[in-house]
């Protein structure tokens, strides 16, 4: 929410603030006729891009004014991800470019690691430093001891560099700290994961079920747009959340569940749908495997049983199950996105997948469609060398069902232990602030202190850059080319990102950096194109387009290659599971010794005086990466702590009062956070938006504003199936007298 803070502040100053003569003159120069800015009246140019403020990657147009300055960004009408409407973060994209706190030139560490003593360096010096260290690591420990952490478009090129060097350890926190469990849960059930954007057919659904998923606050653009379309068409929304989320406010049914008990509700819904014979019999018989085992396994999970656990009344459980069945197959039990909560998250995602299977929504209109990704040929280069080890070597026999590398797994395997003969020695970190991304900050910092080389490539001086040996300033997405966006969506589609402006300061694009490093390391053959324009043009010409065409249109749509969007009646479908069927009973889980049908496990509850720390997202921010963006900071400049009025009364907390928090392990928040007393949160929990409480002073706007949930997440419940980090089992209490605590800033 934007505040009227400055408005009120300046209004109060009254005419005094307005009595500045030059101000009025400037105004006259700026506005030549009534209210029309020059930038509107005069000619402008536009260039295509796709957004990098989050990873929905909406395609848009960057407009510049007469002076050639970036003015605004709007959506591309042809784009399936945004339909011409960017979200607030995309609209606020110019702030990322104009932020004068940006990293400006390469830096090399001069003092102790983490003490933030750097000297400015030339690009050549920085690359020589990195190449020498990487060669030394390869010689002494093997190239497999270097890992890449990435969350951004540049990761493609640093990934290629790392593979050319001889390591396949490429991890994104978006997997094991976010959506990994649902990928594995859906893979085990339907033989394929969900990816991004998810193939949820929300626009045509008649019933949308959200389990802790807060679409609307979680501003994944296409989903928000389609949810709005669904509301227009009268779809029933069922929201399960201990917090009265924005989506709950749009719902016919809000189920204010006791936190950490979602599995009981899901199993009970499965029980009702089977026992009342609400399931799609034809679909289940034709496409699924293990119905009998499932029915037997959920026999005792009655709504009355679930009531005692979830606090959701049995008749509400029955009524909502009926609503789903009435809408089927146009029903979506939404898989969510950030699902690393309690350590049994893969199984909870399995339960969600099973519900969808019983309702016959997978592959059906208003349920889940069959997405297609455009197949763009990769550029030619020599085969990557075969690594002798991977991150999995550090975890023999564990997490075999994880289909991507675990960021936390690599982090843990960087801390040397006697039982392991090799630990990670080098990290390259691109566009992910691991300090605020990985739980258990102490552990992350210990790992970093054991490294021989730590390179951070970012646009902003995020906390992680302070721990680097070498910092490389990446230019923003508005100043560079990147890989062509290829999907997935309803139709195969490609989108181009091209620079709207020259890189500011001494910042550079990822492709250039990766290629220069490759040259230093004798790996030039893997980057055959000297500049990225030639590379993109070569790729686009392979598929009948060209860079010239894409610069003009930004987005190009192609016909589907692989059949219809939905299963046709009686279509024979082979699923990529062991049985070729949708597995209600998971044979792959059974083979690995995990429960083939999900079971309910009780999770710890907060001790007296403590509250479960729940965190989520605000529509105008992406993780911790946007809070310093001047435009987005203006919309929301700090997070608040949502506290139920009953709890506030007990602790004598006032609205707006600043408190510190302390968790079950005695870890305190570094900065105070303002209390928001609201009925919208349960009395056993508190809530804050993730991504605030930055401890990095070079982020001048956002430093010290609000509290960091990550700092308070020290208890991590590892998912035994795929290694995800369950983060919702942390409990906090209030410190209401900041005098007793070190007061920051």
């Amino acid at each position: 929410m934007t505040t009227r803070r400055n408005f009120i502040k300046i209004s109060a100053a009254g005419a005094g603030a307005l009595a500045i003569g030059t101000g009025a003159l400037n105004a006259m120069k700026w506005i030549s006729s009534d209210t029309m800015p020059d930038s509107v009246k005069n000619n402008f140019t536009r260039t295509p891009t796709y957004c990098e403020i989050c990873f929905w990657k909406c395609a848009g147009w960057v407009y510049k004014n007469k002076k050639g300055d970036i003015w605004k960004i709007t959506g591309n009408d042809e784009d399936q991800n945004c339909h011409g409407r960017l979200c607030p973060r995309g609209t606020g994209g110019p702030g990322m470019y104009y932020d004068d706190d940006r990293l400006k030139t390469p830096l090399i560490r001069t003092g102790e690691r983490g003490r933030q003593t750097f000297r400015e360096a030339s690009w050549d010096e920085a690359f020589t430093y990195i190449a020498d260290k990487m060669k030394a690591i390869a010689r002494e420990h093997g190239p497999e001891c270097v890992a890449l952490f990435t969350h951004g478009s540049g990761g493609k090129y640093f990934g290629d560099l790392l593979q050319a060097y001889g390591s396949s350890n490429i991890a994104a926190p978006s997997y094991a700290q976010c959506r990994g469990p649902r990928e594995v849960g859906f893979m085990a059930t339907f033989g394929e994961g969900l990816e991004s954007p998810e193939p949820t057919d929300i626009r045509d659904t008649r019933c949308l079920v959200l389990i802790g998923s807060h679409i609307g606050e979680n501003m994944h653009n296409g989903q928000v747009q389609e949810m709005s379309d669904a509301i227009d068409k009268g779809a029933v929304i069922i929201t399960v959340d201990p917090r009265f989320s924005t989506a709950a406010g749009k719902s016919k049914y809000w189920l204010p569940i006791k936190p950490a008990t979602d599995m009981a509700l899901l199993l009970s819904w499965i029980h009702v749908i089977i026992n009342e014979e609400y399931y799609d019999k034809k679909y289940v018989e034709k496409y699924t495997y293990g119905f009998k085992e499932l029915a037997e396994a959920v026999r005792n999970y009655t709504p009355e049983w679930a009531y005692g656990i979830t606090t959701i009344a049995p008749d509400v459980i029955r009524k909502t199950a009926k609503e789903m069945a009435d809408a089927a197959p146009a029903v979506i039990v939404h898989p969510g996105r950030h699902v690393t909560w309690y350590g049994d998250d893969t199984q909870r995602s399995r339960a969600i997948a099973i519900l969808n299977a019983l309702l016959g929504s997978w592959g059906r209109r208003g349920g889940f469609f069959r997405p297609e990704t455009f197949e763009l040929p990769s550029y030619p280069h020599p085969e990557f060398p075969e690594p002798k080890r991977t991150w999995r070597t550090a975890y023999p026999g564990k997490y075999v069902l994880a289909d991507l590398a675990l960021a936390n797994g690599i982090c843990d395997a960087t801390i040397p232990v006697t039982t392991r003969d090799c630990s990670f020695k080098g990290w390259i970190v691109n566009g992910t602030n691991l300090i605020e991304t990985l739980p258990n900050q102490k552990n992350t910092i210990e790992a970093i202190q054991n490294l021989d080389l730590m390179v951070v490539i970012d646009t902003m001086p995020m906390e992680i850059t302070g721990w680097a040996d070498v910092v490389l300033p990446e230019c923003t997405y508005l100043e560079r080319y990147d890989s062509v966006r290829t999907g997935p969506h309803r139709l195969p589609q490609i989108a181009l990102r091209m620079p709207a402006a020259e890189p500011k300061y001494n910042s550079k694009p990822a492709y250039w950096m990766a290629r220069q490093l490759a040259i230093k390391m004798g790996l030039e053959a893997y980057f055959p194109f000297e500049n990225q324009e030639d590379l993109l043009d070569w790729q686009l010409k392979q598929v009948g387009s060209s860079l010239e065409e894409m610069k003009r249109i930004g987005v190009k749509t192609f016909p589907r290659q692989y059949g219809e969007l939905y299963f046709s009646d009686d279509e024979e479908v082979e699923f990529f599971t062991n049985t070729g069927k949708i597995e209600l009973y998971s044979t792959s889980f059974a083979n690995e010794g995990f429960d083939p049908v999900p079971v309910y496990t009780a999770h710890p509850e907060p001790p007296p005086g403590y509250y479960r720390l729940i965190y989520g997202r605000a529509p105008m921010h992406t993780f911790s990466r946007t809070s310093n963006n001047p435009n987005l900071h203006d919309l929301m400049d700090e997070n608040t702590l949502w506290v139920n009025p009953k709890v506030a009364k007990e602790w004598s907390l006032m609205n707006g009062q600043q408190v510190y928090l302390e968790n079950q392990d005695g870890v305190k928040s570094q900065f105070p956070i303002k209390v928001r007393v609201t009925e919208r949160i349960r009395w056993d929990s508190v809530y804050m938006v993730h991504g605030f409480g930055h401890a990095e002073k070079r982020l001048t706007r956002t430093y010290g504003r609000g509290a960091s949930d990550t700092k308070l997440i020290t208890k991590v419940m590892i998912d035994p199936i795929m290694g995800g980090t369950g983060m919702r089992g942390n409990f906090v209490t209030f410190i209401t007298n900041p005098g007793e605590t070190e007061v920051a800033s």
């Binding site: 101000g23 105004a27 409407r85 227009d232 406010g249």
Partner: protein
């Protein structure tokens, strides 16, 4: 011609996209805004209701800001849009005080500024930036005298209200409820 806007509170998620789109479109300085979000929650857990509104100048038919302006800077443009002529504005703040909706702010360049319904866009046949960007498509805009304009059509179909009707300003910003 009578321009008006309707905001669907059932669809608005309060994301503030309208705010930032207006800021970039109209070069509104950081720290100020011409439109903003209001969230109202009623009830006690778990019997709750939330209304989210995207608010801005109501472009009132009986506009106190126009009436009280000593220099004529605040005026009605075509279609009833309430505008400020920056070069006539002396920044006295009378309009700010008179507005029941708190819709005006003093631009640091020395004049009072507010929502224009993006009149520069209307002249080109485009919607206001806020309506154009809204991901939930909850902002309906158009000419009330045209029965087929999006705003006329939606007001015919849905229950709506305006804010502070007791002020007697005859606001032209409606909220679908």
């Amino acid at each position: 011609m009578r321009y008006a806007m309707a905001v669907d509170t059932k669809k608005c998620v309060g994301c503030s996209d309208c705010v930032v789109a207006c800021q970039t479109e109209n070069n509104v300085p950081i720290g100020y805004c011409r439109d903003w979000i209001v969230e109202v929650t009623d009830g006690t857990y778990p019997q709750l209701e939330t209304e989210i509104r995207s608010e801005r100048c109501n472009h009132c038919i009986n506009a106190p800001c126009v009436r009280c302006c000593p220099t004529g800077a605040s005026h009605f443009a075509d279609g009833g849009i309430v505008l400020v002529k920056p070069n006539k504005c002396i920044g006295c703040g009378a309009c700010i005080a008179s507005c029941p909706y708190d819709a005006r702010y003093p631009n640091p360049d020395g004049y009072v500024d507010k929502c224009t319904f993006c009149i520069h866009r209307l002249e080109k046949g485009l919607n206001p930036a806020c309506a154009e960007v809204c991901p939930t498509k909850c902002i309906y805009f158009g000419d009330l005298e045209d029965p087929n304009s999006p705003v006329s059509l939606i007001l015919k179909k849905r229950k709506y209200k305006s804010l502070i009707p007791e002020a007697g300003t005859r606001p032209q910003l409606f909220f679908l409820i």
